[in-house]
């Protein structure tokens, strides 16, 4: 006998992500989910971001890794609330991990929540965390064909940060081709070029955050 189910496999995660979305909306928290390969510079970007923000900024970071508290220690130096999520082997963050990590944080005290996903271009794409925007990082020490090889994340991300651009003179990375590849997969995607060692592109990145935060809060308030 055939029994119809017709449900998304990750419907439980989607349900929890929806709860998070509603909480973020109610508390006016703007949440971004940073995704990239290991070593593309998610933590470095967040370090420079936190350092650039005024001490009074109401921001917080959840950072995911399979093991170690290293990233949380690095990020905590800036003085903002940081919590490490160690997944113990799981290659992505899911909505239940975010809910658990936020349990003892006062969301009314947070304007921007940065979620640094586990370094992986594949699996984190499938798990909705209730975030407003996914951001993908692509460093110039990788191949410019990454958007074509991993189209799911580039199709889902609103912004692509091309990181480590100070290394461009030393690596065979074809920047215009990388941008063309990213736009091929996702025509409307924003692109920002950064260097965390030479402090390039950070103003543009911070401006994107501020602009996107303002319209996200408005959009969501209208939806609910």
């Amino acid at each position: 006998m055939r029994v119809e189910i017709e449900e998304k496999v990750l419907s439980e995660n989607d349900r929890l992500a929806q709860q998070l979305r509603e909480r973020f909306c109610a508390h006016k928290v703007f949440c971004v989910n940073l995704i990239s390969s290991p070593g593309s510079g998610k933590t470095a970007l967040l370090e420079r971001t936190l350092e650039a923000l005024p001490r009074t900024a109401r921001v917080a970071v959840l950072t995911g890794d399979i093991q170690t508290e290293n990233d949380a220690r690095r990020l905590a130096r800036a003085g903002f609330p940081v919590k490490q999520i160690t997944t113990g082997g799981t290659c992505h963050l899911d909505a239940s991990m975010i809910i658990k990590a936020l349990a003892d944080w006062d969301l009314d005290a947070i304007d921007i929540l940065f979620v640094e996903n586990v370094g992986n271009l594949v699996c984190p794409t499938s798990y909705d965390l209730g975030e407003h925007a996914k951001i993908v990082l692509l460093s110039v020490t990788e191949g410019e064909d990454k958007p074509l090889k991993y189209p799911s994340i580039f199709a889902a991300a609103e912004l692509c940060i091309i990181s480590k651009v100070d290394l461009l003179p030393y690596v065979p990375f074809n920047l215009p081709q990388a941008i063309a590849n990213a736009r091929q997969v996702h025509p409307g995607m924003g692109i920002v070029e950064t260097s965390c060692t030479k402090l390039q592109g950070l103003t543009e990145w911070l401006a994107w955050l501020e602009r996107r935060k303002t319209c996200a809060i408005e959009e969501r308030a209208n939806q609910m």
Partner: protein
């Protein structure tokens, strides 16, 4: 690499569905997996088999319907399967196209044998 977590979510959902048909044995689980779902069907079947061992779903086989990615052109409304390099519309070369299929990761049905539900 996350096929095991996906398999575990499928197992939970199907176990719950089977419990509603008490005494029935699940023989097949029908899934729909899109090209953009980032799930390898073989790894998923392997994970499912490993997790199902020793449970009520030990004999269930996975039937996976693989869906190709499809885009729709926002200019001329053509629906097409994009090539590897370009997702531009093959008819009018418009670059703004939206994904309408290929992201699926669904449980579509189960097949059960045994005591019919009363």
């Amino acid at each position: 690499m996350h096929e095991l977590s996906i398999a575990s979510a499928i197992l939970d959902r199907v176990t719950a569905a089977a419990e509603q048909n008490a005494g029935a044995r699940v023989t097949k689980v029908g899934l729909r997996v899109g090209e953009l779902a980032s799930v390898d069907p073989d790894a998923l079947a392997f994970g499912f088999e490993a997790l199902a061992k020793g449970t009520a779903l030990a004999d269930a086989v996975l039937e996976i319907e693989y869906r190709k990615r499809k885009q729709r052109c926002t200019a001329c409304n053509l629906e097409f399967e994009p090539g590897e390099i370009s997702s531009n519309c093959p008819a009018c070369n418009h670059a703004d196209t939206v994904c309408i299929a290929g992201k699926e990761l669904d449980i579509s049905f189960i097949e059960v044998e045994g005591p019919p539900c009363a």
